[in-house]
């Protein structure tokens, strides 16, 4: 049960075996995705046709590798841009929210807090359509009344960013709030007491304290944006982020090209996560 309590050996063995199986279950799908990126076949499946790097570096059809596939590279860039925008926006608003809820007691705070949590329990697709409906209403209204064509209110990257931002901000707020709650406010008072004004105190003391959470929230926001599908699906316009582009491809049939992209994604996010862990350890 816990190491200090004598437990029957059999139970211990069964339990450990179960956990081992669980990890096999976790790893298996990713492992096959990774492995078949190197299969020299048009279809990510057995039999093994031999090892190839064509799905990464191939230049000629049908085996055009990721690094020569313009549309995939473009989609990665789009995803990165969207992710960066979402990360910056949601961390900024999240930090502001964290300060608001942590520092001020005001009427309606409870209601606002629950409202702030709500995007977490709204299905992503509903978030997507509600934003799509609203922005279309506004855009159509502008067009009908003033013949103004508000392009940014039509499906496209702006809406994708807003749609993802609408729920990722909640997560950023929670992550940053959690750390701000651990902040000892007397540190700020100490700074005031030592001659800093309010803004300087926040800048020199509170923000450095929050930094690990801010960076953490930023990375999490970026990753979540990068892999978001449901909300994006409803809001995407002419330039699709990677998940949507891959989904469109997948509808056209699986090819090891998708395995190759997936493998790169795994490597990318592992790298990001490791950097994050290293950063958190350091501070």
């Amino acid at each position: 049960m816990i190491p200090t309590i004598p437990t029957p050996r059999a139970l211990r063995v069964i339990w450990t075996g179960y956990v081992a199986l669980f990890f096999v279950y976790l790893v298996l799908p990713l492992a096959v995705v990774a492995v078949f990126a190197f299969n020299d076949s048009q279809f990510p499946s057995l039999p093994w046709q031999g090892f190839t790097l064509d799905w990464f570096f191939g230049k000629t059809a049908p085996k055009i590798g990721v690094f020569h596939e313009r549309s995939i590279l473009g989609a990665i860039a789009t995803s990165a841009i969207v992710g960066a925008c979402v990360a910056v926006l949601s961390v900024a608003v999240g930090t502001s929210n964290a300060f608001l809820f942590n520092r001020y007691k005001f009427r309606g705070r409870g209601v606002l807090y629950v409202l702030m949590l709500l995007p977490l329990v709204v299905p992503g697709i509903v978030l997507g359509i509600s934003i799509l409906v609203f922005s279309s209403t506004v855009a159509n209204g502008l067009w009908d009344t003033a013949k103004i064509d508000a392009v940014f209110l039509r499906p496209g990257l702006v809406l994708v960013v807003l749609g993802q931002f609408s729920f990722i901000t909640t997560i950023a707020t929670l992550v940053i709030s959690a750390r701000l709650q651990k902040f000892d406010q007397s540190l700020e008072e100490a700074a005031l007491n030592l001659g800093a004004n309010r803004l300087t105190a926040v800048r020199t003391i509170t923000i450095p304290f929050l930094m690990p959470a801010i960076v953490g929230a930023g990375v999490v926001a970026f990753l979540m944006s990068f892999e978001n599908f449901n909300t994006t699906l409803m809001l995407v316009g002419s330039d699709a982020p990677l998940t949507i582009a891959m989904f469109d491809r997948l509808k056209e049939g699986s090819t090891p090209l998708l395995n190759a992209v997936s493998l790169l994604l795994m490597l990318g996010s592992s790298l990001l996560a490791l950097t994050l862990i290293a950063f958190q350890k350091r501070s």
């Binding site: 007397s186 008072e189 100490a190 007491n193 030592l194 001659g195 800093a196 003391i205 450095p208 501070s283």
Partner: protein, 367 residues
């Protein structure tokens, strides 16, 4: 008086909604002295300190430093600094960064800051630790850094809010003595708040005992301990045997009392202890003498025979609990340090006595 006191509070009052946290408190602290405010949790100590530091506005009253009112001065401009209860050292900076923080805010040059920081580290006996991180220091060292961080700004008054609260017992004992000598070294006015009477007694020049937002008594440690003026002070400062009782007779400064438990005794009447009044009576365990024979104690105004109920051996601070034969009431009595009664056993008959002057009685309070 020629020079104004370093700190002077006049009729200071602060409300939080219904709560009257600080209630018409006035005091002044002469330059270079160590002033403590002693009181139980929630009595308003921190509130006073935060008003002085500028984090709270008084509801009414005035705060003057070196004779000039500071009410309109924002906290970052007041010539007072504060050592916080949990020290509030900045964990994201090293020691140098912490001590230099105030100097940087004042716009001092880098070189000057470095020099000053080294100087003050020297002064607190921790030279060369400037590059260390806060969490690489021991509790006592942090304590000193927190003080140095303030002292480097040369404040007129240093405020300390229970700075020893977080330390363990043995370290706290040591730091009491060290704090006092740091104050002497810096020669600055210290205003110290605590709920631990022994801290206040050991370190302070003067102590204010605070209760429910008001100062009950201000004086030296001896004043408070030997000459408490209120029932609260008598009970809060030092240990006492305590009874509720009524006055049966008053004669000069001495009252004849009967406790609710049935004991009769003579005590020094403080305040208006009129006949028939309900009073609180306090007798310190060390004020009670023990004898094997009633005759040994003939000189005392109050005498009692009983049996030893419990032996609370605690080295030099050993006590016994004496159960009165007459009423069954219990009294704590300190054993003499001489070890004369070390051989007492549970259930042994014993006689005790104490003088009326050592028993204080006050009009009964609610405390």
């Amino acid at each position: 008086m020629t020079s104004a006191p370093d700190l002077e509070c006049t009729a200071l009052t602060r409300r939080f909604g219904e709560t009257l946290a600080v209630d018409d408190v006035s005091f002044s602290v002469p330059a270079g002295s160590f002033f403590s405010i002693l009181g139980p949790s929630g009595c308003g100590k921190t509130t006073i300190m935060r008003m002085i530091a500028g984090f709270l506005e008084p509801t009414s009253g005035d705060i003057a430093i070196k004779g000039r009112s500071v009410l309109d001065v924002p906290p970052n401009k007041r010539p007072v600094n504060m050592v916080f209860q949990h020290l509030a050292l900045f964990p994201m900076m090293n020691i140098e960064g912490n001590i230099g923080y105030g100097l940087r805010r004042a716009g001092m040059s880098k070189a000057d800051i470095a020099r000053k920081v080294d100087e003050v580290l020297e002064r607190i006996g921790l030279p060369g630790i400037g590059k260390r991180k806060v969490d690489e220091l021991s509790g006592g060292q942090r304590q000193r850094i927190a003080i140095a961080r303030c002292m480097v700004l040369e404040p007129d008054v240093l405020l300390l809010d229970e700075p020893l609260g977080a330390l363990d017992l043995k370290l706290r004992e040591r730091m009491k003595i060290e704090l006092k000598s740091l104050q002497a070294a810096f020669d600055t006015t210290f205003v110290y708040i605590t709920h631990d009477q022994s801290e206040a007694l050991v370190m302070s020049d003067r102590i204010a005992v605070m209760n429910k937002g008001r100062f009950e008594q201000v004086g030296t440690g001896q004043d408070l301990y030997y000459r408490p003026e209120t029932s609260f002070v008598a009970s809060f400062v030092g240990d006492s045997n305590r009874w509720r009782g009524t006055v049966e007779r008053v004669e000069g400064g001495t009252a004849q009392l009967r406790t609710d438990t049935g004991l009769t005794m003579r005590a020094a009447a403080k305040g208006g202890a009129a006949k028939g009044a309900a009073v609180d009576i306090f007798v310190r365990p060390e004020a009670i003498r023990i004898g094997r024979d009633a005759a040994d104690l003939a000189q005392f105004d109050n005498q009692l025979s009983g049996t030893v109920g419990s032996l609370l051996f605690n080295g030099a601070a050993s006590r016994i609990i004496v159960t009165s034969d007459e009423t069954g009431g219990e009294l704590e009595v300190t054993l003499p340090q001489s070890g004369e009664f070390a051989d007492l056993t549970r259930g042994a008959p014993i006689h005790i006595g104490w003088s009326a002057a050592q028993a204080n009685c006050f009009a009964a309070g609610e405390g």
